[in-house]
């Protein structure tokens, strides 16, 4: 098999790890990291499979998509961070204030 | 332009527009509000008169508006519709006059009269509905517009009563909706047609049709206060007297009863309903209601409560008449739709007068009221006697025809039910009459705040309406066999239903 599949599996793994961290951690900064890891996982799947029959110049469309995705991710991260800081300033803790169980992501 | 298509919508608008304008009127514009109310009511009356004349001439008034791809909003003025429309129009005018006098100084009159007009609009729509969907639309509209009237006083009791009212009526409306949609999926049409449109259905569907019938009747029975669906009616007594009058005599309960008539005659068709053996159970339900209502009425000391239970009992005469297979019973039921309305509204007007003038709410407080308020009490007595079916009153006519119909339909037990009910009516009305006329006046009335001036025992706005309706009770009884009486009209309808005879 080509390395492509291997990287793609790694991507799937990253997505899962990130999702788990997102659900498991309460600290918002960790949730933000988790989201970013999930994103990288998706990008990895997208790029890896683009080279799966090892062409020298792989399909550029996924690459363009990834660059778009990276920029969107950084934008989202910036917004998330400032929200986190503001919430911390309000509550003194960088976690979501406890609510009823079904409200807890 | 073709006026025949415009008349039915105009009749509806004649109360809708004033209502909407009244909403935005500031509270203190009493004059303008009164003018709007009365002009609306009078205009409606004129339009209805025009339609009555036209229909008697064989004109065909119908308006259609596409609501869904293949279902339309239909307003049609057939004889049956006009029976109810006329009743509503006349009584609305009287009730408006009465309400203007009754709510002289009370707050939120704009809101009250606004919803009052919308409520009548809904009733008229129910009457003119040309298919089951249209009927459903206005039926629900009626629920929504009467709710604010029930809770109008804004007390905790009023809020509770409103809740009960909604629980009953909305649940009923839901069943009605279910039945209607189901019927539509089976037949693809909902158009009211004389003699019904279901008799062509093949036997495979008959079971579903029976279930649908039950759904529809239960849904309508809530408003018609069929036992055991009547619970909301006595509670709704917290509303101001004009509202009770309207609720009981015209709008709400009649909408239910009228719906039952429509379903039996113009959806199923009376023969087909008979073939499915749906009429006898309906008759039984009605009979039970009649007896039960009268029995409960016996034990009420609160005047309005006693009248309420009497309503429960009396309205079912209509359902009973419908359930008696054969033209005679039908005529009895239909004519009672009108007669009960006239008599019952008289009684509520009078009850309102006692409360408003002397602060009397309980029967035990009514001793000698007749001497203090002779005219009111006279009207009350006439209506009460009518309810019992005393000769020369409208009540006598409808009861006579019902009894005839029962014998014609070979249902002797119904005759017994009717007699028992008459006895019970006497049992709960005569004591009141006795108290008012023959017992001595007490030293002081519970809360007298309208002084008597010479012959005028109370405000004339309150006095006029009950006198008129009481007179109507007598007229409808005495001149029953003239061409313009409700009875004659009921006969016309029945001819069309049974013999498809068109004038």
């Amino acid at each position: 098999m080509s390395a492509a599949f291997f990287y793609a599996l790694a991507g799937a793994g990253l997505f899962s790890i990130g999702l788990h961290a997102l659900l498991a951690h309460r600290h918002l900064l960790r949730k933000i990291l988790a989201i970013n890891v999930m994103g990288s996982g998706v990008f990895l799947v997208l790029a890896a499979m683009a080279t799966r029959n090892g062409i020298a110049i792989p399909d550029p469309v996924p690459h363009a998509m990834i660059i778009t995705g990276i920029v969107v991710a950084v934008a989202a991260t910036a917004l998330a961070l400032v929200l986190m800081l503001k919430l911390t300033a309000e509550t003194g803790q960088a976690v979501l204030p406890g609510r009823k169980k079904e409200d807890n992501p | 332009m073709n006026w025949d298509a415009w008349l039915p919508p105009l009749v509806v608008l004649s109360s809708l527009l004033p209502g909407l304008i009244i909403f935005v009127l500031p509270e203190e514009r009493v004059g303008l509000r009164t003018v709007l109310n009365v002009t609306g009511a009078v205009a409606k009356l004129l339009l209805v008169g025009w339609m009555l004349w036209g229909v008697a001439q064989g004109h065909h008034y119908e308006a259609r508006l596409a609501l869904l791809p293949d279902i339309e909003l239909v307003l049609r003025a057939d004889p049956l519709a006009l029976l109810f429309v006329t009743l509503s129009a006349v009584l609305w005018l009287l009730t408006t006059v009465y309400a203007i006098g009754y709510l002289e100084a009370s707050p939120h009159r704009s809101r009250f009269f606004g919803f009052f007009s919308l409520c009548v609009t809904a009733a008229i729509g129910v009457a003119l509905a040309g298919n089951l969907l249209t009927f459903l639309v206005f039926y629900e509209l009626l629920t929504l517009t009467t709710y604010p009237l029930v809770v109008h006083r804004g007390t905790e009791a009023a809020r509770k009563a409103g809740q009960t009212y909604l629980i009953y009526t909305l649940a009923g409306g839901t069943l009605l909706l279910l039945g209607t949609v189901w019927l539509y999926t089976l037949t693809g049409t909902l158009e009211f047609t004389e003699g019904g449109f279901l008799h062509t259905m093949d036997a495979a569907h008959h079971r579903s049709l029976i279930v649908i019938f039950i759904l529809l009747i239960v849904g309508l029975g809530v408003k018609a206060a069929l036992v055991p669906l009547h619970g909301w009616l006595p509670k709704a007594m917290v509303a101001p007297a004009p509202v009770s009058a309207l609720l009981h005599a015209v709008a709400v309960v009649k909408a239910g009863a009228f719906g039952i008539v429509r379903v039996v005659y113009d959806v199923y068709g009376v023969e087909f309903a008979q073939r499915l053996n749906l009429l006898t159970p309906l008759a039984v339900a009605a009979a039970v209601t009649i007896i039960w209502g009268s029995l409960r009425a016996l034990f009420q000391d609160d005047l309005k409560k006693r009248l309420a239970y009497s309503t429960v009992s009396q309205v079912s005469y209509i359902a009973l008449g419908v359930a008696l297979f054969g033209p005679v019973g039908t005529i009895g039921g239909l004519v009672h739709l009108v007669h009960q309305g006239i008599m019952k509204i008289t009684l509520f007007f009078c009850a309102g007068n006692y409360a408003e003038t002397l602060g009397i709410h309980k029967i035990s407080e009514m001793n000698g009221a007749g001497r203090r308020m002779p005219l009111t009490t006279l009207a009350f007595s006439i209506a009460a006697l009518g309810m019992m079916g005393a000769p020369l009153t409208a009540g006598a006519v409808s009861k006579a025809w019902l009894v005839e119909g029962a014998t014609a339909a070979h249902m002797p037990w119904v005759v017994w039910v009717l007699w028992t009910s008459s006895l019970l009516n006497a049992a709960y009305f005569l004591p009141i009459l006795w108290r008012t006329w023959f017992r001595p006046m007490p030293g002081a009335w519970p809360d007298e705040h309208i002084p008597a001036r010479r012959w005028r025992e109370t405000v004339w706005l309150l006095l006029l309406p009950p006198l008129v309706t009481a007179a109507a009770t007598l007229v409808a009884g005495i001149y029953a066999d003239t061409a313009i009486s409700p009875l004659a009209w009921a006969q016309l309808i029945t001819d069309r239903e049974y013999f498809r005879a068109t004038p």
Partner: protein, 476 residues
Amino acid sequence: MDIPWAVMLIVLPLAAGLMAFVWPRVAQTLVLCCSLAIALAVAGLALQLWHHGVFHHALGGWEAPLGIGLYADGLSLVLLTATALVGMGVSVYASAYFTLDDAHHFWPIWLFLLAALNALFLSADLFNLYVTLELMGLAAVALTALSGGRDALAGAVRYLFATLSGSLAYLLGVALLYHAFGSVDMATLAGRMTPVPAAWAALGLMSAGLLLKTALFPLHFWLPPAHASAPSPVSAVLSALVIKASFYILLRLWIMLFGPFAGDGVAALLGGMGTAAIVWGSVQALRQTRLKLLVAYSTVAQIGYLFLAFPLAAAAWNAAAVLVLSHALAKSAMFLAAGNLLHFGGHDRIADLDRVVQRLPLSAFAFALAGVSLMGLPPSGGFIGKWLLLEAALAQGRWDLAAVMLLGGLLAAAYVFKVLGHAFTQAAVTHEPTAVPARMEWAALLLACSAILLGFTATPLLSLLEIGAPFGGSGP
């Protein structure tokens, strides 16, 4: 060449947003003009579709699959209409609602949100849909947090994580589809779909992501806090439009790509979740003591209705579309009215609404009319949708679904009248009321009236829906 209305729908709000960002002073006038222009453009687009059928526009002149396509049919049109109407109402309302400083922040983001919605409803390209989703999501989150304060911020953060993870799940699905079938253009994919594992995984991922964004039970945890704590005009938009956008994508995907092979099992599952949503959401709404939370939970319940259409399939898509539009109008009206009561009384405790019927009649009336539509009582758009849905259910003998619809209607009545009943009471006035600008009252009332009027325009609406047969399996 005829005017590219659809393109204007995207370009106008973006341009206006940039200007509002650079020159905050002119923002308000700009927004009002822009929302009016959007409405006109939608009308123009409607005429265009009516005369020439579906609208297709190859962006950059590159046909799919290489390029991105804009596409508009009856379904897109319905959602664009909802956006235009609610957009106008909310713009007018917001012009009186916000303080100057907040307004300067609100207007550009609001315009970008409008642009994102329009772009989303016009896109025929799965990856482009991802970009629009993110644009919409970030704008929505920013607006939720606008008012600041503990609850609003917490709601916004929770919402942000929900929407981001949803988008990523969706994007992973897109990646799989692209690598399995070599395109992200919906129509192209529709021709190539085969039930390989990747397709199933994509179905799972994309559905999960979009359901999370649509807040279908049990993925609704983020909605009530966000919608209840956001500024009222924002709550209105979130409930009326934003969650509908992800539903719209889901509907398209299901009809064009996944429905054909996913079969009844998945549909039944969605239907079940819808049922649960109706019951749970309504009961929760009934239990609330705060007005805005009640309205938010009512949204959770109303979303459920949309998913009852899946098990009924082709027969019920029309109903779903009508419900989307009527709920958009009614719910936005309801949130705006609730905002007025909140603004007026300084609190939104249902128990002491202080005779609002007398003191704030227009808003109370707006709330009532919106409620009528939500209950599905005639005459209203809600009634039409409910009728169609019920008809489909009974025609297929799905009594369970019919029962759920009717029960949901009754529960809705219960929580609407829970509010209105208190509105009539004679409770003593417990506070110093603040006047409510007329604009805010009328915006709510007009939206509510349009929800009612929708009940009389069903026939033209349904024939518009037929354009391009969005439910006939064809489409972008």
